[in-house]
Amino acid sequence: MKNNGINSNYDLKPGDFNTRIRPAWCRGCGNFAIWDALKKAFVSLKLKSHDIIIVYGIGCSGNGTNYIKTNAFHALHGRALPVATGVKLANHKLEVIAMVGDGDGIGIGGNHFIHTCRRNINITCILHDNRVYGLTTGQTSPTSDEGFQTKSTPHGVLEEPINPLMLALAAGATFIARGFSGDVVQLKGIIEKAIRHRGFSFVDVLQPCVTFNRQNTYYSYIKLIYKLEEEKKYDDRDFSAAMERARETERLATGVLYDTEKSIYEDGLKQIERKPLVDHVIKDIDINKLLKRYT
């Protein structure tokens, strides 16, 4: 987090982060909870709209662009993370959040995902993991269960799903958590921690799509879910433990699976030690020294 709650006379409420557009998600859609939790986390963190930039992918998740009042970039399908990276590098004083869908962030954008993990840049990525392509009306996603029948796989998905938590762990992310749209309170707490974490934070949100995914429902998740914070012995700094929990399929851990400290990408950038890139003066840059090299 960039400003450690410096906003002293802070009096915003979650509703202050609403735009004039009312969310057009289906009634019961898991995106509402993420929307809610995110705004509440902003308030807890005493963040103001203009301190934050959210980069969205394309999908039902990405339609959130119109509903949350912050700086916003509605990127191309799959490209939220590189845009977010560019924003952060140009102005690391901004709180940068990427909101991605499972098709968006792990399907077409999967490569950016693994490379952003290993880059450990100080941004937060929230995966709206409904295990289906929502906006394009119901095709399989990389996180869909094997056998899942969709418009593009009427005879069932033949592939093993990508497990985003395992992938993030393997790729070197330093903060990895799982939330659930059925529990806004926990989710808000997770998102808050994710934003506070220094480095790349990844939150996989089990987000029921009530319209196109009748398999991964609130009900089905509630039966599988347990909370890591209720386990006293769980050590979120232990990679192997995190991997073990991430691999579970008979039950699903929610909460913070992994949280480790590591220098962030920006730490290595002398260029912005003193001020963000965008604040550099670009008038009259002297290149005469440089030209000498070419004699």
Partner: protein, 577 residues
């Protein structure tokens, strides 16, 4: 013999330092105040294959490489047989007879001199590695001219200084022995170069100029994925990242590159990216995102022969129409195609201004020939690159209370608040959007927004400079060309002695939007009009026809992966007129 031009080439298998020898040779002459143009050839292999480096030196203004060699240095047998025919009568071959045992074959031409330089013996004699043969050859080459050894020594020193004194000394020693041996054997100076003002010159490739122009223009974010022939821009930027406080990101793919640059530019930093055709193809979707969100972006497209992987290390002007029409949908862009490194420098500066003032993508097209060949200049004037950021807003004061990022204005350009301003919130939206940036798919809004974005062309057109005319204002023969063809055509015209005054050239370095007005004023249908392009399908000619209806019927095209040489052009024109 006092000469104005010296044309020298070194050739041999990869791994023998052909590239660095060539550059050293070039710099030796620019430091002595001569004009130089050089060019290299190499395959897409790290080891093996035939490498060459050609250096043309002149006491007069020159604009391109030229065909006939005065001196060829051959480091293996293969390089002799491949390049022998390019040597002018009276020219020289420097080679090592003992090593190559090539004399028999060589004698096939008796109008040139075979100069046997025992490079290998010399390196052995001073116990330096065989790879230093090229230094012996450099020293030897210099001995054919009246340039002093000191000039060469200074460049060699600079070149190897970071490898430590010992290496420098060995190299100097090899150079010296080659020089001495040759002076002795020759007993005279075959090529006395006409004196010139003794002033140091700059020696720049097109890529160097992009880099220098961009640094001067305040480019703060450079993202790239390596790709020949664009990679050297990345290397240059990376080498000064701390010195000039520029963030240089070698990203995971070209998709990442363009989207990172989009993000950085959106956040307010001048951003640049460079690639070749394949990378540019991958960036197509992102290009449209820049257009839709009205985020400035400068993209350098260093062409190489395509389609697909093509000929990675050779040259072609095959991507013009792709660049003009790239990405789905319809949007404004600027396409530049500078003719040489000097133009590249200033135009790169201007590219950032146009991108920011009009909030559009600007594409600078180079090609391998321009990207990697060196051209000498007396100087560049950085102060000519000015910073104009257009409606760039970084303070609350500049914003009203109801900020419309995409306000429909008279000139189509809307105020651009940089994120971080309390009143400046908006959505940079790849969906069609209303003036705030909210997604809006209504018919009226769509029409308004398309019109708004296109309206910028009116003001832009006034800023697009006219194409440049070279030679007499009116001429019987007009040559039309663009980009890197500039030099070869200028040289070719100069060569055409008697006919020179009948010929002029119109060179487009600002290609798009196309200056129809200029074309119509300068196109005389009854004259002979010739288009010269380094491609198969005469793409620029097609573009001209698309915008003017006029066909430039006579075409001189080359598409074998090699740039034009002036002699080819001259003889082709000669045949035509």
């Amino acid at each position: 013999m006092i000469i104005k031009n010296l044309n020298w080439k070194i050739a041999g298998p990869a791994g023998l330092g052909i590239m660095s020898s060539g550059q050293i040779f070039s710099k030796t002459f620019t430091r002595s105040g001569y004009n130089v143009i050089d060019g290299n050839e190499y395959p897409s292999l790290i080891q093996g294959g035939h490498n060459t480096y050609t250096v043309r030196v002149s006491s007069e203004d020159i604009y391109s490489l030229s065909e006939n060699l005065d001196i060829l240095v051959g480091l293996d047998k293969n390089s002799l047989s491949i390049n022998r025919n390019a040597i002018s009568p009276g020219g020289y071959i420097i080679y090592d007879e003992k090593e190559m045992n090539a004399a028999g074959k060589l004698k096939e031409r008796n109008d040139i001199t075979y100069f046997d330089l025992p490079m290998n013996e010399i390196t052995e004699s001073i116990s330096v590695p065989k790879i230093m043969c090229n230094n012996v050859a450099l020293g030897s080459s210099l001995a054919f001219t009246d340039i002093e050894l000191d000039s060469l020594n200074s460049v060699v020193k600079d070149n190897f200084s970071m490898k430590g004194d010992k290496v420098v000394q060995s190299n100097l020693r090899a150079v010296e022995l080659g020089f001495r041996y040759t002076k002795e054997k020759l007993g005279r100076i075959p090529f006395s170069l006409r004196r010139t003002r003794k002033e140091q010159k700059l020696l720049l490739t097109g890529n160097d100029s992009v880099f220098l122009g961009a640094v001067r223009a305040g480019c703060k974010f450079y993202a790239a994925y390596p790709m020949t022939p664009a990679s050297s821009i990345l290397h240059s930027f990376a080498s000064v990242e701390n010195e000039y406080n520029i963030i240089v990101k070698h990203a995971e793919s070209e998709l990442a590159v363009i989207n990172m640059a989009l993000g950085a530019s959106y956040a307010g930093a001048r951003s640049l990216l460079a690639t070749s055709g394949g990378g540019f193809a991958l960036m197509n979707e992102g290009l449209g995102a820049a257009a839709m969100t009205e985020t400035p972006l400068v993209i350098v497209l260093c062409q190489r022969p395509a389609p697909a992987t093509g000929l990675p290390t050779w040259t072609e002007q095959g991507d013009l129409l792709f660049a003009v029409h790239s990405s789905h949908g319809e949007f404004l862009r600027v396409i530049m195609a500078p003719g040489d490194p000097e133009e590249t420098f200033y135009m790169t500066g201007e590219a950032f201004n146009l991108a920011e003032k009009y909030q559009i993508p600007v594409i600078i097209i180079l090609d391998k020939y321009l990207s990697e060949s060196h051209f000498s200049y007396d100087d560049l004037d950085p102060s000519k690159i000015k910073i104009e950021r257009g409606k760039y807003i970084r303070s609350e004061e500049e914003l009203g209370n109801d900020y419309l990022r995409y306000r429909i204005t008279d000139d189509g350009i809307s105020p651009r608040a940089i994120p971080g301003i309390e009143k400046g919130l908006y959505i940079a939206n790849t969906d069609e959007h209303d003036e705030y940036g909210f997604s809006d798919d209504s018919a009226q809004n769509r029409k308004n927004m398309v019109d708004k974005r296109f309206k910028k062309i009116n003001r832009l057109m006034k800023e697009i400079p006219e194409p440049k005319k070279y030679g007499p204002d009116k001429a019987k023969v007009t040559i039309w060309s663009w980009g890197s063809c500039k030099g070869p055509v200028l040289e070719a015209i100069n060569m055409m002695n008697g006919k020179k005054n009948m010929i002029n050239m119109v060179h487009f370095n600002y290609i798009y939007p196309f200056r129809v007005d200029f074309f119509e004023k300068n196109f005389y249908e009854n004259n002979m009009n010739i288009i010269i392009e380094n491609n198969k399908t005469a793409q620029f000619s097609k573009l001209i026809k698309m915008y003017t209806g006029k066909e430039i019927k006579t075409k001189i095209l080359k598409y074998n992966g090699r740039q034009f040489l002036p002699e080819e052009i001259a003889s082709a024109i000669d045949e035509l007129i």
